[in-house]
């Protein structure tokens, strides 16, 4: 049992196990979690020859350095990722969006996610990880999910319970594009803000702050003035909601968000733009553009069709 595993030589900055997340638990304080960039998560699994909902390893900024021990196995890395495959004494620059075969003793060194935040590593087969409420997604805040709800640490092992013996390699021609314009629907407290504040929100640039993680993205920019109340009665939050606390700087709720919050909601990022949003690094510029519900729904259909199209190109 479990004779195939990775040794974690370096854990990376924020390396966790993720899948599609867990549903229907917001009312007890447990958010969805799940892979931040859903498209790159799906593509990683498809390239690895897996079902699309399998657990993968998500990393941010600097990823892990892993030494593989076991039988031959295929892996795939997606995102905008700079990584090296160390085979015996050779160092080979890795390519994203194509599977590669690891042998006993090989090392994968994920150096950086370049000018993005999140990348994904899928193994062809099954990671031996704990599921809670039908999901392995690690929620480090509530210590739920794989790895006892903690991020990966150096010197631990990642066990593999099943290897897919089909070692045919798969490839996709795909380049991540970066966007600055994030489309939003006006929030339920939009009228809490002054005329100038609303103009600032839709016309000025904001900068992504360093204080951003899987829970939320903080932004810095011209203060958005509140003319009604800087607090509301605490109410539910969902991912993509943009709250503006008293300091006037927006905070966008991301996948591990607190489920209840008491700051006014100025807007919500549309579902079609979420994957691109989470990839914006600290220091990046961001600009909000208003769309209505009907447009957001159409844009989501297009986003989903493109996902399906990309997945279907991987044979």
């Amino acid at each position: 049992m479990n004779k195939n595993y990775f040794e974690v030589i370096r854990a990376g900055i924020n390396t966790t196990f993720q899948d599609l997340g867990r549903k229907n638990l917001n009312h007890i304080g447990i958010p969805f979690s799940g892979a931040m960039d859903n498209r790159n998560y799906l593509i990683a699994n498809k390239l690895a020859g897996n079902e699309l909902n399998f657990p993968v390893i998500e990393f941010a900024y600097q990823g892990p350095l892993l030494k593989y021990c076991g039988n031959k196995i295929n892996i795939a890395i997606t995102g905008d990722v700079n990584f090296i495959l160390k085979k015996n004494k050779d160092k080979i620059n890795g390519n994203c969006y194509q599977s590669l075969t690891l042998e006993d003793g090989d090392e994968i060194d994920i150096i950086s996610t370049n000018k993005s935040v999140y990348g994904y590593l899928a193994i062809s087969g099954k990671l031996d990880v704990k599921f809670q409420w039908l999901s392995c997604s690690t929620n480090t805040k509530a210590n739920i999910g794989a790895n006892n709800g903690r991020k990966l640490e150096s010197n631990q092992k990642i066990y593999i319970s099943k290897i897919n013996e089909n070692l045919n390699n798969k490839k996709l021609n795909y380049i991540n594009t970066k966007i600055e314009n994030i489309r939003v629907i006006k929030g339920t407290n939009f009228d809490y803000f002054s005329k100038e504040g609303k103009d600032i929100f839709f016309k000025k640039e904001f900068i992504v702050s360093k204080l951003s993680d899987r829970m939320g993205m903080r932004l810095e920019g011209t203060k958005i003035d509140n003319i009604v109340n800087t607090n509301i009665k605490s109410e539910g939050l969902i991912k993509g909601v943009i709250q503006v606390p008293a300091d006037g700087n927006p905070i966008i709720m991301l996948s591990d968000h607190g489920t209840i919050g008491g700051y006014p909601k100025i807007g919500t990022v549309i579902s079609a733009d979420y994957d691109k949003l989470v990839q914006l690094t600290p220091g990046s510029k961001i600009k909000f553009k208003e769309v209505d519900l009907a447009s957001a729904e159409t844009l989501f259909k297009l986003y989903d069709l493109e996902n399906q199209n990309l997945i279907s190109q991987i044979l």
């Binding site: 549903k23 229907n24 638990l25 917001n26 009312h27 007890i28 304080g29 447990i30 969805f32 809670q132 409420w133 805040k141 509530a142 210590n143 739920i144 709800g149 629907i185 929030g187 339920t188 009665k233 605490s234 109410e235 539910g236 939050l237 969902i238 993509g240 909601v241 607190g258 489920t259 209840i260 919050g261 909601k265 919500t268 990022v269 549309i270 579902s271 519900l293 957001a296 729904e297 989501f300 989903d304």
Partner: protein, 224 residues
């Protein structure tokens, strides 16, 4: 009973039950929450009830705002849909190591600490909602004489098990977490247990909670 349903983004319904925060409004929210939960509506993947709002999230691949709104508006909220509420007693120790803000409470409320404790421990609380962090219950209502604002500077770390007060509400920190509530004591009881997939939360919306004062000795020897 819902005053207005609007969209929160493109994949959630924002059901507004009014501005008031009271048991009556919250009971309506909970009844809708439980009725929708039982219905298993296509695509609904999260329900977030709070004092006077209910957010219904859905998978945009499977449903959309317009049709889900119609479905919720026409939903039968059965009168027989009684809330299955439990009565739960939570042991709390107010030793000085745990009652972190008792001095502040005495000063702000201008009453002696023993009266603060007495008012707190003789009160029946109603659970309005759970969340923010996993399992944290929001309980009300404190008497008018017991209401204080949050700390001016929130603590970076509130210890697990801390029982806090703010305005008309009490809560329990199920994990060590940042927070600004006035800490009156600490419970040794596990309020959230993630190893239980069926009922990880000890306290659920609609439950009635009372706190029972225990000594430090009882706290240290506490056995579930």
């Amino acid at each position: 009973m819902i005053k207005n349903i609007s969209n929160l983004g493109d994949a959630a319904l924002y059901c507004d039950f009014g501005q008031e925060v009271n048991k009556e409004t919250n009971t309506k929210v909970i009844r809708y929450f439980k009725s929708i939960q039982k219905k298993n509506i296509i695509g609904v993947n999260n329900l977030t009830p709070s004092y006077n709002k209910l957010i219904v999230s859905f998978d945009l691949k499977k449903n959309n705002f317009k049709s889900l709104k119609k479905e919720i508006e026409n939903l039968d909220i059965l009168n027989s849909e009684t809330l299955s509420s439990e009565k739960i007693v939570i042991p709390v120790c107010c030793d000085e190591d745990f009652s972190l803000d008792i001095k502040r409470l005495e000063e702000k409320l201008k009453i002696d600490r023993e009266i603060v404790y007495e008012k707190f421990f003789t009160k029946d609380f109603f659970c309005y909602m759970t969340g923010f962090i996993a399992g944290m219950p929001f309980l009300g209502d404190l008497d008018k004489a017991m209401r204080v604002k949050r700390l001016e500077t929130p603590r970076v770390k509130v210890p697990k098990g801390s029982v806090g007060l703010t305005e008309q509400f009490a809560n329990i920190y199920t994990f060590e977490s940042p927070g600004g509530w006035n800490i009156i004591g600490n419970t040794p009881k596990d309020i959230f247990d993630s190893s239980k997939e069926i009922k990880p939360n000890l306290i659920n919306p609609g439950d009635i909670i009372t706190f029972k004062r225990i000594s430090k000795d009882q706290y240290q020897n506490y056995n579930e």
